[in-house]
């Protein structure tokens, strides 16, 4: 609390810009002010120990994912049948799994699937991690529904919200189980599951923001100018609601990684040879009683640290932004 008093005026302004709804419609922003805003955001981040820790954890995994080919000495599927189920050693820093695959390589390439690339099928890999795509899809559908619902009101609002309420009241695990068990295990289906589960939450958030923003003058102005519905929804309202949505999205990436791990653990994640963290835990679990805990310990730690990192980061950001409001 004491720290906040020393902060300069401009940081306060930048914070409300990032996190609150922008009070002013986009005023002329030069390249310079953008840069200083970025710097201020970082300053706010680093002023909270929790958020800094979170940022470090997240950045660690992002770098591991980016640099996976350069910081590992084995391929994630290379089997060393002479050395299965080994503890950490010089040649295998984290040990090996039951087929003698290097756990560090599998962890690093597993981070790629979560954060950097998504395997659509065996040949096609698209950039953007599986968790990221899941959240993006949820954001897209949720935001569209929320915008229409909040802006239009009346019976479209009533129908959309009642349906989403019904969806939200279904236990999340049930949705995951039924969707993925029925569709089969693949990255695309995991994305679909994450998107379906995430959509109602995003829609609610965006709707509540829209209800507030649609009364603003610049929305009236756009209506008077005769702009199309799509323009008003996506160019006027959505950009002005982006602060809370970004924080929510960050938490959602955490949930998505959580969900990916859980699905993998239940045997509903990526198909076998791919280094999916959850599946690694599930497989390694069988060998705990045989005296080799490493194969399940490391991926559990990886998921835990990444999810905790994202939550600390989002939490820190939200707390800092709340202090100024």
């Amino acid at each position: 609390m004491e720290k906040t008093q020393n902060r300069s005026e401009d940081k306060i302004k930048s914070q409300s810009d990032i996190n609150g709804i922008n009070q002013k419609a986009s005023t002329s922003k030069t390249e310079n002010s953008k840069k200083s805003r970025f710097r201020d955001t970082l300053a706010v981040l680093f002023s909270s120990k929790a958020a800094t820790t979170g940022l470090i954890l997240v950045m660690f995994w992002v770098f591991v994912a980016l640099l996976a080919p350069y910081i590992t000495s084995y391929s994630p599927t290379e089997q060393d049948w002479k050395a299965p189920n080994q503890g950490p050693s010089l040649s295998h820093p984290l040990g090996t799994d039951e087929l003698g695959r290097d756990l560090w390589s599998r962890l690093a390439y597993g981070a790629r699937i979560v954060l950097i690339i998504m395997p659509v099928n065996e040949k096609l890999w698209i950039p953007g991690g599986t968790a990221i795509w899941g959240v993006l899809a949820a954001l897209f559908f949720g935001a569209s529904l929320g915008l229409v619902s909040g802006y239009k009101g009346g019976w479209p609002d009533e129908i959309i919200m009642r349906l989403l309420d019904a969806m939200m009241s279904i236990p999340v695990i049930l949705l995951y189980l039924i969707i993925v068990a029925a569709l089969g295990a693949s990255a695309v289906n995991v994305v679909i599951a994450i998107a379906i589960v995430g959509t109602p939450g995003v829609a609610r958030l965006v709707r509540s923001l829209t209800l507030d923003i649609r009364t603003r003058d610049y929305v009236r102005a756009a209506e008077t100018r005769g702009e199309t519905l799509l323009y008003i929804l996506f160019m006027e309202i959505l950009p002005n609601a982006k602060g809370p949505i970004i924080i929510d999205a960050m938490l959602r990436v955490g949930y998505a990684i959580f969900a990916m791990g859980t699905l993998g653990f239940l045997g509903l994640g990526m198909p076998p040879p791919s280094p999916d963290w959850g599946s690694m835990v599930a497989k390694g679990r069988e060998f705990i009683l045989m005296g080799n805990p490493w194969a399940s310990l490391w991926p559990s730690l990886a998921i835990a640290s990444l999810v905790v990192g994202l939550n600390l980061l989002a939490d820190g950001l939200r707390e800092e932004s709340m202090r100024y409001q």
Binding site: I173, G261, T262, F265, L266, P293, S296, I303, D315
Partner: protein
Amino acid sequence: MAKFIIRRFFLLVLTMFLVSIAVFMIVESSPGNVAKNVLGAFITPEQEASFLAQQGLDKPLLQRYWFWLMGSDRTAARKSGLELELIETEAGFQEWWAKGKDNTLMRWDIEGDDLTVYVKDSDGKITSRKDNQRWSDAKDGSQIFWGIDRSNHAVLWVKGSANEVWTFVVGTGWIKSTGGPQSYIPLKKGFLRGDFGVSLRTGRPVGKSLFIRLRNSVVLAGIAFVVVMPLALMLGMVAGINEGSFKDRFLSISGMIFSVIPEFATGIFLILIMSHWLELVPGASVFGEKAPWQRPDMLILPVLTLTLIELGYVLRITRASMAEVMRSAYIRTAFLKGLPFWQVVLRHAAKNALIAPITVIMLHVNWLMGGIVIVEVVFGYPGLGQYLLDSALYKDVNAIEAGTMIMVLLAVGTQLFADILYTFLNPRIRYS
């Protein structure tokens, strides 16, 4: 208030209805089929078709849904012109019989072209005799009979047809017989009349196995609840009273960390520490025929896992609510009156601060179920979640539907209960 409850109750029914349809459609449209899942990948197409027909899975989707929802006995009774009755035998099996004159019960079997009727009279004795006068003429000239067979189907027999029937008997393997029925209707009372149907995976009534699984899950959740609630409310209040202090930050950050780590990771950590390295408690919950409370040592780790996960969540809500109350004017007044610190906290603050957590926890049942499913899988605990996962992997539609309906009912029901409870705890709230 009454209007509100009725509206919400209507929404509950609507939700369950929509979910049940959605589950049927998803299971229907998904790849893979239940025959291969249950009987293995190497069954022949004839065996597969025979299995699907016997389970009634060759019927159109809409009819299957109707049978699941409302039961098939009325349709079967109309087709056969017989009065049907469901009885429970002394061994605990459910059997469908056709009702004859003077309270005798009848079922049929076919051998070549001969119908055999099995008659069970009122004192339970079963006699069999030839019963060929049942055949009636169909439009295309063949002789047919709609009757009840000896494995709870209403079936259509056609005289002289050589339909092959494959039945799988555990321990023996496939048995092939000819002269089988043209069409099967598996008899059931339907979901709305309290019959969940028969599990395709185990062949046993879903209701029976589900009840035991549900009981086990409720035991686990109940113990976790009893452990978590006092602890979390107490710690949350401690954190909320000293808002911003080191104690507060430590409690809320560590609570947050524990609540966001996936359940299976927490479970694995606990198994490694408590069972693998310290060798204090068993790392799995294998009960066999025993009930969970007969092996309390096996409950320790599952309960501990659930506790860690739920603790943080409840703690943070209590903390926020407590912190807000502590800032309010009436608490300041109480302090200024000179009341002792603990009296203010316990008598004035706690009363108002606990309203929010209690209801929010109810809403949290949704997430708690997810936690329980994972914890059950981690520890091999024979609960509802494990049952549902297995059923989903097998595409055992009756079991999935039953498990889903119970979970939705529990989740939506507790939400409704929480809303009603809230009006009693907080008279300022009125639903209209």
